[in-house]
Symmetry: C2
Subunit: 369 residues, 2 copies
């Protein structure tokens, strides 16, 4: 098992990465937190697949059924909204959970964001345990304390920073993760490689047929991503200095792609993957990077994105429009670009013509025109 | 002008108390914050009375009308809810305000709590300026960073801790505050006196005909309350050690009174005043304080509460029931009691029979039976 400790303004917390963690680590962890009761926030599908293992580990420490309740909500980014949060508050209130309770976020990025926001705001804060079940949540979203929900047309427009007591990533649960979700997680791993870590890129370059059989290799790469994220969030917890903003590599384009396709055709990871290709092309077009950066990105990302079906009726203008109505509205557009691999830079307002060309170039490529 | 500095985990902020502060202090303050735009969150009535002074001070620094917008919501505790927050997010989003903006909470406790929660959670946090316009908000609720809204039947059940950039208390605006609101604020002042400050009690003992004409005396008492609150929130910002919990003196009874009367018959300050009488009586009944504590409280509080009409159809059982379904549900009931004046203690579960008797004794007294 790997353990990475994250320092934050309100103390330090561990990220545990390994196998059989629900059985071997969760009881001790909860025993130390000593919650008066536990709220498991999740989806029915995840509870169906792995809930028994989780619950059986919690029950003995929390006085059996009476000490644990569940708030399950429907899957999908479209449910990461205030209405789902409000339903959650009502369930919490009815259960009698209070500030000495514990919220367990058991799922992927949507669950972690929403359950984290519930924990942060219910009674001005109950304790939070992140138990991610997707590769993307393990390598990225469960760590660093960003929690929140979307407003209509504005992703993550409501939220706060709220650090968990711990993050418990049992890599064994990835065995049931759909192929498309796995590839989304691999895109985030590639992001860390492109931003910070060439050796990681070499490793995942050999994963074309899916995750490696070798548990040590997979757990090691997840831990390496978390270590990179730890370095960043420790020095810029509240996303103020530009350090943490680097983690949005590919995300400005990616969010716009998700918005322009109404969150239907592309998963988050796929959109971010295509977004990094666009960012690399923009880096070349605005003269920051030499020719070749985009090709390098293609070599890293196309094996992961090979099954993505790019919507044929989408045009570049719609994507650029979506970018302008993103949450940076009324503000200069800021992009994470690369001078070369592992050399990220923040670039403000690179010019709409160049942005449009970068988008169009990659779209042509993706559509195979 | 008095200036009290509050230390918090995220830095220090000033509380300014005096006259003509919108004209003399606000422009500099906003000039230092340099917001991209300003959202004034308030009620139409307050904007009608004092909005011109505020807006005229802000306009020149924020590029005129385009840089300032208003989110006004209907008055009353019943509107301090998630629906009002959600409307606020939509107005914020439509205005284009972002993380570099500034939210000005311009009003009493309800405005401060709700606008503060909006500022804390919109885009994971925009800057916040508290500009309280009621005596209660000036002496208590605008300081210390507690922000949030109510759930149905659960006061302040949703919220967070979020520190403002500054608190600007222009005492001049109290001239238009209704008598009943003033007396509510005087109850909070009496609370600080009973908890920490006998000299303050002597001063306000002479205020039976309303606030003193002497500006220096009034401003001095407000500043003294803020200084007491500063001492407490500096050592227990997140209400974890019991120090800050002392500020809830009278509030467990008070909230139950508000709930049992559906927030119609008693204002918050009136309910807290009666709640302190009940707490004093309970202190006597459980043997913590000697006889005489309740009589001492009567001398302090009855001149302030003299016009309160206590609902005759209310019985003690309903109040005790409301206490049990308050936010401490599923948890031991904790009361702030006094061993003697200025000697507060936290007491857990003093016994339902004693609580019931304390409530009944004070109710008999208030009803004049």
């Amino acid at each position: 098992m790997a353990e990475i400790r994250i320092r934050s303004s309100v103390g330090e917390y561990p990220v545990l990465i390994g196998r059989d963690l629900y059985e071997n680590e969760l009881p001790d962890l909860i025993g130390r937190i000593r919650p008066t009761s536990v709220a498991v926030v999740s989806h029915a599908s995840i509870m169906g697949l792995h809930g028994k293992r989780l619950i059986e580990a919690i029950y003995p420490i929390c006085g059996g059924e009476n000490g644990v309740f569940q708030y399950l909500f429907a899957e999908g980014e479209e449910n990461k909204n205030l209405s789902t949060v409000e339903d959650g508050y009502e369930v919490f209130l009815a259960s009698g959970i209070n500030r000495e309770g514990l919220v367990v976020a058991f799922g992927g990025g949507v669950v972690g964001d929403l359950a984290g926001f519930l924990a942060a705001t219910y009674m001005r804060g109950t304790r939070l345990l992140q138990v991610p079940t997707t590769l993307m949540a393990m390598v990225d979203s469960s760590v660093g304390g960003k929690v929140g929900v979307d407003l209509k047309g504005a992703k993550n427009a409501v939220g706060t920073f709220y650090q968990p007591q711990a993050v418990l990533s049992d890599v064994g649960v990835l065995g049931t993760l759909p192929e498309r979700e796995l590839r989304g997680g691999m895109v985030e791993i590639a992001k860390y490689g492109l931003l910070y870590d060439e050796i990681m890129l070499q490793k995942i370059g050999k994963w074309h047929d899916g995750l490696p059989e070798n548990a040590e290799e997979l757990d090691g790469v997840i831990a390496a991503c978390v270590a990179h994220k730890a370095d960043v969030v420790t020095v810029d917890e509240r996303d103020l200095t530009g350090k943490r903003a680097m983690l949005n590599y590919g995300h400005t384009f990616g969010h716009a792609l998700e918005t322009a396709t109404a969150y239907i055709h592309l998963r988050h990871g796929e959109a971010v993957g295509i977004g990094m290709l666009m960012a690399a092309r923009l880096s070349e077009l605005c003269g920051l990077a030499g020719e070749g950066l985009h090709e390098y990105h293609r070599c890293v990302l196309m094996p992961i994105l090979k099954d993505v079906v790019f919507p044929r009726d989408l045009d570049a203008g719609r994507i650029v429009n979506a970018m302008q109505s993103d949450k940076k509205k009324g503000h200069v557009m800021r992009f994470v670009l690369l001078q070369e691999p592992q050399e990220p830079r923040l670039v403000e307002s690179p010019g709409e013509a160049l942005i449009m060309r970068a988008v169009a170039d990659i779209m042509r490529d993706m559509k195979g025109d």
